[in-house]
């Protein structure tokens, strides 16, 4: 079996072997179209690689860690990240590497090439994988080409590709990937042609940009657009965008650059060239006997076709196709930079200002009618910011993911989440809060009289300077009794903050020694993986990722402060209703329906007859380490008050408003999945074992259960029930 096929060697029945793109290119070459020098690496080679290296089963073990349907999108992304890293770190078997390397070297010498995905089920009329798998351009040298072949293979398992396959019912376990290696033509201009406009069957569409096609295909650069009358071939209209950027080849890749002024003022194609593109695309349509989506590039006077595929959206009525949505979960670097500006310069300052303004209002002086109006007003404000949270803050979290991919591609670390450590020297608001708490605890530890006063619980005995510091803390972060940051007095009759302080006095958390050096070292390794201009971009990417990482935590804190103001107004109304009834306040409280306690009932049915119980639960290993201790299930915020040092925090989802107990915990277990969720981030900050994405964590584990958390493997082991017939057998499955 040949492992690299030139187009001449492809046979008519090779469609499954060379994939949709490779097959279409073979047909184009066979039909006399001008295409760049191309070879195909058939899907058999992918299969050989995953079978000989054991990668196939490693992938399936990763995918079967949990029922796919139970996974949140973030968990699927994590899964895809781990699989991608397997491909990045797994070397090809030596003879396979030698054969591919030698053939590619002989064929392309020093010429630069594009390495493109060509999945066997790709690009047929039924399903379109356009954009789901990866392609890379401007690569040279056998080693670099082979590295990118592995990356194209890995993209078979990208989150978007996994979701899409699942949705259209393709068996992911049978999928394979062929690869096309194609000489790069550094076109003066490039574009796409749709021989039939999906919205108007009598017209065709030609789109073009200066330079390479990347910006157009990714939607980052708005193209010039010509509508062609199919019958006459005449140009019906030409829409010109504001031309600002183009993509040009740069060191081992492509770069988005500012267009030189002479190009910014000129359309990429002249009228004659538009007609030539149209004539060639129409020829392809006739040849393939179906409307085509043709990708092309112009270099001097040469018009080359890069690929051609049937248009998938014609008449299939696939308005339910969610591929676009899956792809939209990924944001480009430039898009994220814009989002950062908006968040840091507009949204966050506005949130702080809003919370401060609300805090200045003296609620106790308002009449019942005005208080009701104030509650409604605060309710609307809060809703507005919750919407902003979903529309801007959540997408911005992709900055961390994008960085993770860039880091893993460049450094190829054994641990695909090493990059998080590099982000960890970021000052998050929740850590600032925790550090202030630790300082207070430190003061108590050094002053036995103060400690005695705190234990006595009589506030009048407590040193006034210390109380002033406590007041300052409460002013800034609230008294920790509320499910929202900045809220106060949610738990009547208790002083959770002081209790927590006493707990911290006896159990100071151990610091992360050597962390600073490690971060410095990781940063050097990362930056040294890039040369020249690429290093500048890598530095910018790291900066953006840090901001994104910080916001992942801080946004909840800022949102919490606004929620706290709503809560304060609600509490004022409730307080008044205790003394006397008020229809207007009663009504407003039922309309806003604000969940004060965040309580969720989660009672497991009482066992009767045979007893079924979990012995080992699995999730994602999100923080390395191992810990054993009593579980403390947190179902509602009030449960935190009873948290004792050395217990294992088990909850549905850690949110930043409850992370103040994390320094006391021995480990963290969370039902919600993902490596970049708050629980995982904060556990990593304190060096605690952490497992996330554990189905049924808060119902299968009970407060007081002895559990072992293996943060290396993502396994939680529940100790035996007392009195069980197997109690004496200390089994280790």
């Amino acid at each position: 079996m040949k492992r690299i096929l030139s187009l001449k060697e492809v046979q008519a029945d090779d469609r499954q072997r060379v994939g949709g793109k490779g097959y279409a290119l073979w047909r184009l070459a066979d039909g006399g179209f001008d295409i760049p020098d191309t070879v195909c690496i058939p899907s058999d080679v992918y299969r050989e690689f995953v079978d000989r290296t054991g990668l196939r089963e490693r992938i399936f073990m990763e995918l079967h860690r949990k029922d796919f349907k139970e996974m949140r999108w973030e968990e699927i992304w994590d899964c895809a990240t781990r699989i991608r890293n397997m491909f990045l770190t797994q070397r090809l078997p030596e003879n396979l590497y030698q054969e591919l390397g030698q053939t590619l070297q002989d064929r392309f010498q020093t010429r630069s090439v594009a390495v493109r995905s060509s999945a066997p089920d790709e690009d047929d009329a039924r399903s379109s994988f356009a954009g789901l798998h990866e392609s890379f351009v401007n690569l040279s040298g056998a080693a670099d080409i082979i590295k990118h072949i592995r990356m194209v293979w890995a993209s078979l398992w990208s989150d978007a590709a996994l979701l899409y396959r699942q949705e259209i019912g393709l068996d992911v376990e049978k999928s394979a990937m062929a690869v096309v290696v194609q000489e790069t033509i550094a076109g003066d201009c490039s574009g796409v042609a749709f021989t039939r406009d999906p919205n108007n069957p009598r017209q065709a569409v030609i789109e073009s940009v200066h330079g390479l096609n990347q910006g157009l295909v990714d939607g980052e650069i708005e193209p010039d657009r010509w509508m062609i009358d199919r019958d006459s071939g005449r140009i019906a209209s030409h829409t010109q965008p504001k031309r600002q950027h183009w993509f040009i080849p740069s060191h081992g890749g492509v770069d988005r650059a500012v267009l030189p002024p002479e190009k910014a003022g000129t359309p990429p194609l002249g009228e004659e060239a538009v007609k030539t593109v149209w004539a060639t695309a129409l020829k392809a349509e006739k040849y393939f006997r179906a409307p085509q989506d043709v990708e092309w590039t112009y270099f001097k006077q040469r018009l080359a076709l890069l690929q051609s595929r049937p248009i998938t959206t014609l008449g299939t009525g696939d308005t339910n196709d969610r591929r676009g949505w899956y792809l939209s979960l990924h944001r480009s670097f430039d898009n994220l930079k814009d989002l950062r500006r908006k968040i840091e310069q507009e949204l966050i300052p506005a949130m702080i200002e809003t919370a401060d303004n609300l805090a200045q209002k003296d609620l106790s002086r308002l009449s019942a009618e005005n208080l009701a109006r104030e509650i409604e007003h605060r309710w609307e404000i809060n809703n507005k910011w919750v919407n902003v949270y979903w529309s801007d803050f959540i997408p911005y979290a992709h900055g961390v993911r994008l960085f993770g991919q860039v880091y893993n591609d460049a450094v190829q670390p054994e641990d695909p989440y090493e990059f998080i450590d590099l982000l960890a020297d970021t000052n998050m608001a929740s850590l600032a809060r925790n550090n202030m708490l630790l300082d207070l605890a430190d003061a108590v530890r050094k002053d036995p009289a103060l400690r005695h006063a705190l234990e006595g619980g009589d506030a009048t005995d407590i040193d006034s300077d210390f109380m002033a510091r406590v007041e300052m803390f409460i002013e800034k972060f609230g008294d920790l009794s509320c499910p929202v940051t900045g809220g106060r007095e949610c738990v009547l009759g208790t002083a959770p903050l002081l209790r927590l302080l006493l707990e911290l006095v006896d159990h100071p958390p151990s610091g992360n020694i050597g962390k600073v050096d490690r971060v410095k070292q990781l940063k050097e390794t990362y930056l040294n993986s890039f040369a020249g201009d690429q290093q500048k971009r890598a530095r910018e990417m790291l900066d953006l990722a840090k901001s994104s990482y910080r916001l992942r935590d801080d946004d909840n804190i800022y949102l919490g402060r606004i929620e706290a103001q709503l809560l304060a107004a609600i509490q004022e109304a409730k307080k008044r209703l205790k003394d006397r009834s008020s229809a207007v306040l009663q009504t407003v409280l039922t309309t806003v329906a604000f969940e004060e306690s965040g309580a969720k009932s989660a009672s497991a049915p009482e066992p009767h007859g045979d007893v079924l119980k979990a012995r080992q639960l699995t999730g994602q290993p999100s923080g390395p380490g191992i810990a054993r201790g009593k579980a403390r299930i947190i179902r509602q915020h009030n449960d935190l008050v009873d948290f004792k040092s050395g217990e294992i925090l088990v909850c549905d989802a850690v949110d930043p408003n409850m992370t103040f107990v994390v320094p006391l915990a021995a480990a963290v277990v969370e039902r919600r999945g993902g490596m970049l969720i708050h629980g995982a981030i904060i556990a990593r900050e304190y060096g605690l074992p952490c497992i996330t994405g554990v189905p049924g964590a808060t119902t299968l584990i009970k407060t007081g259960d002895d559990i072992t958390v293996d943060g290396y493997l993502g396994i939680i082991t529940l100790a035996e029930i007392k009195g069980s017939p197997t109690q004496q057998e200390d089994s280790n499955e």
Binding site: M61, H64, R65, D610, L612, R615, Q616, E733
Partner: protein, 150 residues
């Protein structure tokens, strides 16, 4: 986690799909494993196998009735690591000699008809394991246990 009904369904499906089980007995603290052809009643509370009375396993279980039985559907391929299910039953084994023997044996032989001559020999014992607990491992590391009320 699955419900008791789902757990039971998985057990029955596994038991119906497999003919052989690994039996663990012990003598003087030394464990001993052997392969047996098993049959499980539909309620999954008992497992049965036959053995010559001269075997080491029979001697062991006669001296100490505590046994473990492992049944799994692995296929000796890589995919076992994500697909295979393995069940360990822990319980007490006793030879069945009473009036129930014939009906149990006929059900056993319906599953293993080729063992008819072996089963009918005078030196062959029908052994029943009263299961106290099941430990099921699936998806490589997910472990659930069922303790049977006696």
């Amino acid at each position: 986690m699955e419900t008791k009904e789902q757990f039971h369904e998985r057990l029955v499906e596994l038991f119906n799909s497999q003919k052989l089980a690994a039996l663990s007995t012990q003598k003087g603290g030394q464990p001993y494993a052997s392969l047996v052809a098993f049959y499980a009643a539909d309620d999954a509370r008992h497992l049965y196998f036959i053995t010559s009375k001269t075997t080491r396993k029979f001697a062991n279980l006669s001296a100490d009735s505590r046994v473990a039985v492992l049944i799994n559907n692995s296929t000796n391929t890589d995919s076992d690591f994500h697909e295979a299910i393995s069940v360990t039953a822990v319980g007490k084994a006793d030879e069945i000699t009473g009036p129930d023997k014939e009906s149990v044996l006929s059900q056993y032989l319906a599953k293993h008809p080729y063992l008819n001559d072996f089963a009918r020999a005078k030196t062959c014992a029908l052994v029943g394991v009263r299961v106290e607990s099941y430990f099921m491992v699936r998806n490589f590391q997910i472990v659930t246990e069922l303790h049977i009320k006696t």
